[in-house]
């Protein structure tokens, strides 16, 4: 059971994330262990809830998402890339001891084995520096997150002002 459980969780996670369109990997008893691991390793990272704040050409903006490490191996987010801006960095919003807010480049952020890393307002963000075009509400844009083990993960995010805001109802948060 000890060795079975993580594999089982792994399999469930990978089924949900990568094989939801019909490939049947659901029955762990029928699949040899080696085969599962082989299929799992290259796709250890999955990313969801991708969204980007609006920004103008020559200006900056930020993107946010939830990163899940579906593997038994810890990973590290080491950067991001995109042709949307002159420079892409992973940043962290932080509060000083006296309560002021600042922002700094973070070259590496660990993603625990079977853990999640949330890039969210007031915390980590993907920083688009000097956008090469306008990034307007309702449009979609692609960028890449780079992981030490997981390699490059391509994402597409929708532009909105706040998480949970729809395209038409932006600005209305209360229900």
């Amino acid at each position: 059971m000890k060795s079975f459980k993580p594999i089982f969780i792994l399999l469930i996670a990978s089924s949900i994330t990568f094989y939801s369109c019909g490939q049947n990997e659901g029955d762990s008893k029928e699949v040899p262990k080696e085969e599962i691991i082989q299929k799992e390793l290259p796709a250890g990272i999955s990313v969801s809830d991708v969204w980007i704040r609006p920004g103008g050409e020559g200006m900056n903006t930020g993107a946010f998402c939830v990163i899940t490490n579906n593997s038994e191996t810890p990973d590290t987010l080491i950067g991001a890339s995109s042709d949307l801006a002159e420079l892409i960095e992973v940043h962290e919003t932080y509060e000083t001891e006296s309560g002021q807010m600042g922002m700094r480049h973070v070259p590496a952020i660990p993603v625990e084995a079977n853990g999640t890393l949330e890039l969210k307002p007031g915390s980590y963000h993907v920083m688009f520096i000097q956008l090469l075009k306008d990034v307007t509400v309702g449009t979609e844009h692609s960028f890449t997150l780079n992981f030490k083990n997981g390699g490059a993960v391509e994402l597409t995010g929708i532009v909105k002002d706040m998480p949970g805001m729809g395209m038409k109802k932006q600005g209305k948060m209360k229900e």
Binding site: R53, P54, G55, G56, M59, N60, T61, G62, E86, L87, E89, H91, T93, T96, S98, G99, Q100, M101, G102, M103, R104, H105, P121, G122, H125, M127, F128, I129, Q130, D134, T136, V137, D161, M162, Q170, G171, K172, M173, K174
Partner: protein, 193 residues
């Protein structure tokens, strides 16, 4: 000590109709700014007689300042719903080197902000710093990024602030900007209305 008690008592008496304190009287101050349309704005003179909701931002900030700006939008919507009319929204940039009127206008347009009672202000760095000092908003250069073409993008370490200013240009309450409690600020506006 007696003086403080007397002043406190006096303040409570003068402002007895609401529970907001007196933080800073700006009514004798004059700051020359320009708005997103490059029109001159005498602050706080221009807004005298209005309740002012004022945020402090720089547009190169992709996180805290958009949160503050979005909170101001939410307050603006709530104020409209409540039918309160004499409220002015003001966002002052503390990065005038980058935040020209055109950039501020674009920043507002990208967010489809209603500028009918909202102005984005920039201006001379000395005027801006003078006001920041008075209202005790801290904004100093922090980290920066350098693009492959060698452009330096400056970030600021700054106070996270939305200030509520009354019709007499007196700051009555300082709120967090990015973590603002919308209803608390709307209640403050109602109590001043």
């Amino acid at each position: 000590m007696k003086k403080i008690l007397l002043l406190t008592g006096l303040s409570l008496f003068v402002w007895g109709c609401n529970n907001l304190e007196v933080i800073e009287d700006l009514s004798d101050d004059q700051y020359k700014f320009i708005n997103q349309d490059s029109s001159a704005v005498n602050f706080p003179e221009k807004y005298k007689g209005k309740i002012v909701v004022m945020g402090f931002i720089f547009t190169n900030c992709p996180d805290i300042c958009p949160l503050t700006t979005n909170n101001m939008r939410l307050i603006q919507e709530r104020v409209k719903e409540e039918g309160i009319e004499n409220v002015q929204f003001v966002s002052l940039s503390f990065d005038p080197d980058f935040d020209t009127p055109a950039i501020l206008k674009k920043y507002a347009e990208l967010r489809s902000l209603d500028l009918s009672n909202w102005e984005f202000l920039t201006g001379d760095i000395d005027d801006i710093h003078s006001l920041l000092k008075t209202v005790q908003v801290f904004a100093v250069k922090g980290d920066s990024s350098v693009t492959p073409k060698g452009n330096v993008i400056q970030y600021y370490i700054h106070t996270d602030r939305i200030a509520l200013i009354d019709q007499e240009s007196v700051i009555r309450k300082n709120h967090f900007g990015s973590k603002a409690n919308i209803e608390e600020i709307v209640d403050g506006i109602k109590s001043l209305d």
